[in-house]
Structure formats: structure tokens, C-alpha cells
């Protein structure tokens, strides 16, 4: 019963809240959508924190998402031993990057009085949850070897079962508690989405790649030809 609350109710609640609150925040308080950069106040440590953190976490999240979207392709990818090794080692390296990055980001906030002055409770909650999450992820990758493989046969079918509204929790209830914690913390982060600066992830400005380099806005007239 408790497992159902954790692995069925909680994920559904988290995702629903994230979607509804995220959209309503975007509609009602778009001003608050921001990465809340603090680079202006502190520059040096941010580089060593933010860059490894972001490149690490974005790649890892993608790697978590791919098996969910293309399970059979992912399976094929792992069928070769060399590829499996490369994948595991890369994952471990990236995880280490995120752990180091996030630790630096947290230390930075504590050590710079200026950055501390713009740090909210939500920031602390988010940063600490993220650090916990990536640290556990790293530990799991180290201790429960071949995660890129067993992830495909445990968490993936569980999440797919949630997606198609036929929850089957037996895929994950037998997993070690650390792995279960990792899953739940993941959905806790989803829950945090609309209430923290994490919203910046969804405003990634892809359109910069193709929009006209100059932006001209007219009051009534539709935009005409636009130039450099």
C-alpha cells in the first residue's frame, strides 16, 4: 500500500502539479521565469561550478530520457561490451562532474556574501536536493554496476506503465532502497520545478539559432523585412 503511494500516487501528483503550476506561473507571472544568474556578483567560482554542472546534468538527463523514448535502440546499444564499458565510464565521469560542480555552487553561495544575499530558501532546497540526487546517482553507478542495462528493465517499464496509466510497481519495488530513493527524489525535483528557478530549463532559447538577428516590433503593423 505504501509502495503505491510512493511509486504511483506521488509521481502522478508531482507531474500534475508541475504541469499545472508551471503553466499558470508562466501565464500569470512570466517575469519570474529567469535563470536568476548570479554571475554579476561572483564570477570565478561560478565558472568551475556552473559549466561542469550544466554540461554534466544535461547529458545525464538526456541519457536517462533516451532509453525511455527508444528502449529497443538503447538495448541494441548496450549489446556490445565495448560500448557498454564506454557508456558506463562516461556516465560515471559525468556524474562526478555534476557532484563536483554542484558542491562548488553550494560552497560558492556560502562563501560569497554577495551571492548569499540573493539566495532564497527555495534556492537552498533546490541546490541541496540536486546535490543529494547527483551524489546518489554517482554512488549507484559505482556500486550497482551496469545501471545503463538494468535501468532499461526496471525503471523504464515502470515509467512507461505510469505513462500509459497502467501502473505496475513490481518493476521497482524490489530494487535496493538507494535506487528507490533516487527515483523518488527525481519526482521530487519534478515537483520543485514550478516553484524554483528550475523553470529556466524549459525556456532554453533554441530559437536564437534561426531568428532574425535583429528584432523589430511594431505596434500595429506586422513586422516587415528584417535585417542584420
Amino acid at each position: 500500500m505504501f509502495d503505491i503511494v510512493l511509486f504511483v500516487v506521488f509521481p502522478y501528483v508531482a507531474v500534475t502539479v508541475a504541469i499545472i503550476s508551471g503553466i499558470s506561473r508562466y501565464r500569470q507571472n512570466r517575469f519570474s521565469y529567469s535563470s536568476l544568474s548570479s554571475q554579476f556578483l561572483e564570477n570565478r567560482t561560478l565558472f568551475w561550478g556552473s559549466v561542469p554542472w550544466h554540461y554534466g546534468v544535461i547529458t545525464l538527463l538526456t541519457a536517462h530520457l533516451l532509453p525511455l523514448l527508444f528502449p529497443s535502440l538503447w538495448g541494441d546499444l548496450l549489446s556490445d561490451r565495448i560500448r557498454l564499458y564506454v557508456l558506463e565510464v562516461t556516465g560515471l565521469g559525468l556524474a562526478l562532474m555534476t557532484v563536483v560542480g554542484m558542491t562548488l555552487l553550494i560552497v560558492r553561495r556560502l562563501r560569497s556574501p554577495r551571492v548569499l544575499a540573493v539566495t532564497s530558501t527555495a534556492d537552498w532546497l533546490l541546490l541541496i536536493t540536486l546535490l543529494t540526487q547527483v551524489a546518489i546517482g554517482f554512488w549507484i553507478a559505482l556500486v550497482y554496476r551496469w545501471g545503463s542495462g538494468w535501468y532499461l528493465h526496471t525503471s523504464v517499464p515502470w515509467m512507461i506503465s505510469l505513462l500509459v496509466f497502467q501502473p505496475e510497481i513490481q518493476y521497482v519495488t524490489a530494487l535496493p532502497w538507494l535506487v528507490q530513493f533516487h527515483l523518488l527524489a527525481g519526482f521530487f525535483l519534478v515537483l520543485l520545478f514550478p516553484f524554483t528557478r528550475l523553470v529556466h530549463v524549459f525556456t532554453y532559447p533554441f530559437t536564437y539559432l534561426w531568428r532574425p538577428i535583429q528584432v523589430v516590433i511594431w505596434n500595429r503593423r506586422p513586422p516587415q523585412k528584417q535585417r542584420p
Binding site: L36, S37, I217, N219
Partner: protein, 505 residues
């Protein structure tokens, strides 16, 4: 021809007394908020000097503006990043100035003056950081090197001094020859703005109707590339709200027919505002020209508002009759295009700035000999050199060229020769101690006529309020559809929104 209208500006540096009234007017209206205390949308700096933020002109450091892609003649691109590169640097902007490049904003612990216990010493009000709220040491301010800040060490680092020889540089700070002038700066509302080009979110934009460059507070996501992209460092990052902000050319004032606050309050009456009509089809070409032709190309974008073809094209583009009329009376058109006196600041940044400067007159070299002020080598009978001279100027002309003409000395000299002609002509007229021959020589050298000189004198020295500020009707009723009244909102809500701009959720 794609004719557009641009609200443009001229600052007459010869009239600037460096009083900072403009800065205060702006500060009191727009940037007296948390997170914006350090911002001076209008600032006045001493030249030679490093300005605000420190050494903003050094684009090797800040990467502002545009550059030619592979040497001469080719397309231009942002100095800051390619599009893909910009998205790659988004997690950490390598060229972002930090608060220390400006200054840490502070207040004083005034309360202590009243509440301090009785003691042997006078109580003092310590400086308190407006960021951390803790006591701090003041190490810089927005005009820290005002009037050289009492030392040559600041001015030495002025990037423009690179254009001078070692000897010239040393002379500049010699006691008897010391020379400086003031450079008031606001957003240039460029035709090819670097801030707009650099913003990944597309939050910075140019208003089609009047060319004012604005930054949407709702679209800004704090990717902070605009701060780097602007070579003039006139977009600022609000460290509290996590949004960038910039000069809005007081558009709420303009829309109600008033001049912007910094213009209106200017004590020296150095500021002029008016509409220019320009040909947007040729923008790219003008911005990509070889450096020595940039000023020329920039001028050639500006079209004659009296020409029937231009008027026709303007109307075809939906520019109102009233706007065209404003363009015809624009003082900016006269200074920039007709008289060719006013020049863009750092044309080599290739943003096509629409704030033009009439360069300041250059004091001539002089010596004190036996207690007598001796205008060096001006022993000749002619009076001209006393009034001003390019040859004997204390400030080398190449320094001015580095500021106002992308290094093209001829362009600045032309402007100066005309102003010298104005002086000599007026001296002859008012005091009568200059020979007619000398006047004619000066007029010829300046490529001007008595008639034109009279017009220049009038607009320079005796213009009416309405001649200085020809504010076009900006159809506020149309513009207001999109926002709330910024005046009533600015204190509690910033501009253009319904709720206070709090940091985060």
C-alpha cells in the same frame, strides 16, 4: 528604399560642464530601486579616462559590438559569439562585467550619527553595502575618475590613448598642459544594436515606429548576453530581480510630448533631440563598411526629409505626416547631416549609434612666460590660433578621431575646421578684432558660409526649447495598448507590469 523613423540625439560636448545633473535626473526617475542602484543609464565621464564600467571601450576584454568576419569588406558578425557559440556559453558568460567593474553600491549608516553614545570623537556614518547590507570599504564609484580623480593613474588606462605616441601621452597630464573634457553617455538606440543581436531569448527589441531600443522584462531570462553584446555597456543586469534593464529614452515622457529627463534637466543645454529618416535597406552595407568610411556611410543612411521621393517612401511605410514634419524640423538632422558637425561615438563598434556628438573645442597649448600667459608660438599677427587651432591643440586630434570617427582624422578635422570658422566669424562680428581676410580664410577652410555659420550659432547658443527638442507625436494611444502606464507602475512594479518584480517565484 525602406524608410524608417528614428528618434535621434545630439550632445554638444563644447557646452557640457560635467555637472551630472542629467545622471541625477535619470537616477531619480528610473534607477532608484533595489538591484538598480549601481546602474547609471545616463552617466558622465571624464575623457581621457576609463569611464564606467571601467575600460568599457576595451572590446578585447568585453567583446561588445560587431566585427568584420574575415578582414575587410565581408559581412559582419557579433564579436561576442556565433549563434551556436552563444548557446554554448549560456551557463557562464566569459565576457560578462561583474559588479566590481562598475562599483559596489552603498549607502551610509546615517542612523549612527543620531544614536551613537556620547564619546570623545564625532560619530561617523559608515558605508553600508546595498548588496550585502554589511559595512564595506568604498573602492570605486560611478564617476570615480571625474576630472582625473586627482591623479593620472586612471586616465592612463584609457583605451583611446593607444592612438597616441608615448610623448603625446606624457604631455597630456603635464601640469601646464593638462586637458580633459566630459562625455555624457546614454543608450545610443543604435540602428544595428549589439544587445539585440546578442540576446538569445529575443527579449531586446527595437520599436518599429521610433527606433527606441527596449528590453522586455517578461521575456528576459537572465542569459545576460546583452550586457556583453552592447559595446557601450548600456544594458545593465539587475542583480536583485535577475533581469537586464536599459535606458528607455524616457518613452513615457516622449509619448506625452516631453523631452527625456536627462535632456530636459541639462544645465548646459547641450542636448538635442529629433527624428531622422533613414534607409533600412542599406543598414547592412553601412555597418560593414571599411573602418575609415564608417562615419561617411552612417551619414549616408540618413535621408533628406524634404526630398519628395523620401517623403513618398516614408508614407508608403506608414510613417505619419506628423512624424515626417518632425523630421523636417529636426535639430539632429542639421547637426549630423547638413552641417556634418556631429559624429557617432566609436563608429568602429559597427552598431550605427543614433546619438551623435559635436566634439569639444580643443584648448591650445600655452605657456606662462615671466608671469605672462603666452599662447605658444601664436606670435603671428593672426588671432585665429588663440581661439582654437588644430595644429596647436593640447588634445591630439588622433585622440578625438579614435573616439568619434573610427580613427579617420579627416572626418574629425572637417568638423573642427567648421567650428573654428564659427568662432572666428563671431569674433569678427562681435568684437571686431579679426581681419575680414582671416574670416574668409576660416570660412573657406571650414567649407562653410556666413549664412550657415549664423544658423549654427543660433542652434548652438540661442536655441529655444522647441528648437532643441522636436519631439514627434508618438501615438501613445497605440503604444499604451501593450502596457500599463510605466510612470504609475515604476516604483512598485518596475515598468509595464502588474505585480512587483520579485526575485524568483
Amino acid at each position: 528604399m525602406d524608410i524608417r523613423a528614428q528618434v535621434s540625439m545630439v550632445f554638444h560636448l563644447d557646452k557640457c560642464i560635467g555637472c551630472h545633473t542629467c545622471s541625477i535626473a535619470c537616477k531619480n526617475i528610473w534607477t532608484d530601486r533595489k538591484g538598480a542602484e549601481y546602474m547609471w543609464w545616463n552617466n558622465v565621464e571624464t575623457k581621457p579616462g576609463t569611464g564606467y564600467p571601467t575600460a568599457w571601450e576595451d572590446q578585447d576584454k568585453y567583446k561588445g559590438g560587431w566585427e568584420q568576419q574575415n578582414g575587410k569588406g565581408s559581412d559582419i558578425r557579433l564579436k561576442l559569439h556565433s549563434r551556436l557559440g552563444g548557446l554554448g556559453n549560456i551557463f557562464f558568460n566569459p565576457y560578462l562585467p561583474t559588479v566590481d567593474d562598475y562599483y559596489e553600491p552603498w549607502t551610509y549608516d546615517y542612523d549612527h550619527l543620531f544614536s551613537a553614545p556620547e564619546g570623545d570623537d564625532q560619530p561617523t556614518a559608515r558605508a553600508i553595502s546595498l548588496i550585502t547590507g554589511k559595512p564595506m570599504e568604498i573602492e570605486a564609484g560611478p564617476n570615480w575618475d571625474d576630472d582625473y580623480g586627482g591623479s593620472p593613474v586612471y586616465a592612463e588606462n584609457d583605451p583611446n590613448l593607444g592612438a597616441l605616441t608615448e610623448e603625446e601621452r606624457e604631455q597630456l597630464t603635464e601640469m601646464e598642459r593638462v586637458v580633459f573634457f566630459y562625455l555624457p553617455r546614454i543608450c545610443n538606440h543604435c540602428l544595428n544594436p549589439g544587445c539585440v543581436g546578442a540576446c538569445p531569448a529575443g527579449a531586446v527589441y527595437k520599436r518599429g515606429e521610433d527606433g527606441i531600443v527596449l528590453l522586455s522584462q517578461e521575456k528576459c531570462r537572465a542569459w545576460r548576453m546583452c550586457v556583453s553584446g552592447c559595446p557601450y555597456k548600456k544594458t545593465y543586469f539587475n542583480w536583485s530581480t535577475g533581469k537586464s534593464e536599459k535606458c528607455i529614452l524616457c518613452y513615457p515622457r516622449l509619448e506625452s510630448g516631453q523631452a527625456p529627463a536627462c535632456f530636459h534637466s541639462c544645465v548646459g543645454r547641450i542636448r538635442y533631440l529629433g527624428v531622422l529618416l533613414y534607409d533600412a535597406d542599406r543598414l547592412k552595407e553601412a555597418a560593414s563598411a571599411p573602418a575609415e568610411q564608417l562615419v561617411h556611410e552612417h551619414r549616408s543612411l540618413i535621408q533628406n526629409p524634404h526630398h519628395p521621393l523620401v517623403i513618398e517612401a516614408a508614407k508608403a511605410n506608414g510613417i505619419s505626416e506628423a512624424m515626417i514634419q518632425a523630421a523636417q524640423h529636426s535639430p539632429v538632422y542639421k547637426f549630423v547631416k547638413q552641417w556634418k558637425l556631429a559624429l557617432p561615438l566609436h563608429a568602429e563598434f559597427r552598431t550605427l549609434p543614433m546619438l551623435f556628438y559635436v566634439p569639444p573645442m580643443l584648448p591650445v597649448l600655452a605657456k606662462i612666460k615671466d608671469g605672462v600667459y603666452d599662447n605658444a608660438d601664436a606670435a603671428s599677427a593672426q588671432l585665429g590660433p588663440l581661439l582654437s587651432s588644430l595644429e596647436q591643440a593640447r588634445m591630439p586630434i588622433r585622440y578625438m578621431a579614435s573616439l568619434f570617427s573610427a580613427g579617420n582624422v579627416d572626418v574629425v578635422e572637417d568638423s573642427y575646421r567648421k567650428m573654428i570658422a564659427v568662432r572666428i566669424y563671431m569674433r569678427a562680428k562681435m568684437v571686431g578684432d579679426v581681419s575680414e581676410e582671416e574670416v574668409q580664410q576660416a570660412l573657406q577652410a571650414g567649407g562653410t558660409t556666413a549664412e550657415e555659420v549664423e544658423a549654427i550659432v543660433h542652434l548652438t547658443a540661442r536655441p529655444t526649447f522647441e528648437e532643441r527638442f522636436v519631439v514627434p507625436p508618438l501615438a501613445r494611444e497605440v503604444a499604451i495598448e501593450q502596457t500599463l502606464d510605466p510612470f504609475t507602475q515604476k516604483r512598485e512594479g518596475g515598468f509595464g507590469f502588474r505585480r512587483a518584480p520579485a526575485r524568483g517565484a
